[in-house]
């Protein structure tokens, strides 16, 4: 586990949650698997710092990977049918993209 990468991941997740709330409001407050995965990733990432437990660490990585994957269904539809609105979602998408790279990096280092 690399504490530095995990700290950057935590910052990204926190930023993602804030930008995610904006998109959540825009899209009509639909509770999506992606939303739940992101919150679990946030809790588990904090848990990693607090407990130094390996299981919690791997679960955090798992949800950091799951969160960007679960958004695909929604975002693919938006990109296909409502691409003029994607500007609103772009900050959230950028953070999601970075999160998955950092999660894989954390796993390898």
């Amino acid at each position: 586990m690399s504490n530095e990468i995990m700290l950057v991941s935590l910052a990204l997740i926190f930023g993602s949650m804030l930008s995610g709330f904006a998109t959540f409001r825009m899209s009509g407050m639909r509770l999506m698997p992606h939303f739940i995965a992101l919150i679990l990733a946030f809790i588990l990432t904090i848990g990693t710092f607090l407990t130094s437990n390996t299981i919690v660490f791997y679960l955090a990585i798992l949800f950091q990977i799951l969160a960007p994957i679960t958004v695909c269904g929604t975002i693919c539809n938006i990109i296909k049918t409502q691409y003029q609105t994607t500007g609103i979602y772009s900050s959230h998408l950028a953070l999601m993209g970075m999160m998955i790279v950092l999660a894989i990096g954390n796993l390898l280092m």
């Binding site: 825009m26 899209s27 009509g28 407050m29 639909r30 938006i78 296909k80 049918t81 409502q82 691409y83 003029q84 609105t85 994607t86 609103i88 979602y89």
Partner: protein
């Protein structure tokens, strides 16, 4: 052939109308009347004679038989704004009073009828043919200048450009429709750009705000109550949703859009 007669102030207009129809082999008879009582008498006669008729204000239009067109144009296969441009070009070379026959696909039907009306022309007939296309007969007219008079607003033209990506505006589209209906205003919805996503079958069912009913239910309720919902042909093609539209939603284009936007008795609402 088109015949025009004036029966204003006649006590028994049906007698004159009957005589004229008997001496007319085919075409359209335009009757200028005083109003309701004359229209009622003429309607009964036309019904008895078995002809089709349309009432437009105080005027009655009776279709007696085949109308011979001066020119004919086929715009099947062309997409917006192609049909109206092609027809406009032909019309420009025609004289006022001449009749043009247009064969058009379902995608261009509304655009042509609405667009040509706003250009001042008279739609003589519009029929669906066995192959699913439409045959429209129009008489070229000079565009009449609108007089600067005050009119009562009795229609609203609700334009959605954001689609389901902005749930609040999507809900507002149908809620404003309901409010307009309650206020005895006739609403018409036009979906363009991202708004075209609302027309995609099943897409509105994915939007459900905790405080409101399903968006899909709102859309279907609007359609059921007779509200016309148009989706921009180009926007729906851009998004690949043109082949999977919710039942009852019609494809239209720029001519329909401008026709509604230029109606003096309608106000646009942009969302």
């Amino acid at each position: 052939m088109i015949k025009e007669i004036n029966v204003k102030s006649l006590r028994s207009p049906a007698m004159l109308v009957e005589k004229v129809i008997e001496n007319t082999k085919g075409g359209i008879l335009l009757i200028e009347t005083d109003g309701d009582s004359q229209i009622k008498e003429i309607s009964e006669l036309i019904k008895k004679m078995g002809y089709k008729m349309e009432v437009d204000g105080t005027n009655v239009k009776v279709s007696i038989g085949e109308i011979e067109a001066t020119k004919s144009i086929n715009v099947v296969g062309a997409s917006c704004p192609g049909p109206i441009l092609m027809v406009g070009e032909v019309l420009e070379r025609m004289a006022v009073g001449e009749i043009l026959e247009i064969v058009a696909g379902a995608n261009a039907f509304t655009d042509l009828t609405e667009g040509l009306k706003s250009m001042g022309n008279d739609i003589l007939s519009a029929e669906k043919t066995d192959d699913g296309n439409y045959k429209i007969l129009i008489k070229k007219e000079e565009k009449k200048k609108e007089l600067g008079v005050s009119v009562d607003i009795d229609e609203v033209f609700i334009i959605n450009m954001t689609g389901t990506g902005n749930a609040e505006k999507a809900y507002a589209t149908f809620m404003m429709t309901e409010v307009a209906q309650n206020m005895k205003l006739k609403p018409t919805i036009f979906l363009m750009f991202d708004g075209a996503s609302l027309a995609l079958k099943g897409e509105c069912d994915k939007v459900k705000h905790p405080a409101f009913p399903k968006l899909g239910d709102k859309l279907r309720a609007a359609l059921k109550s007779g509200v016309k919902i148009y989706v921009c042909e180009m926007s729906s093609e851009f998004r690949g949703v043109d082949k999977k539209l919710e039942d009852g939603i019609e494809i239209a284009g720029a001519p329909t859009f401008f026709r509604f936007l230029s109606k003096p008795n309608a106000r646009p609402v942009w969302l």
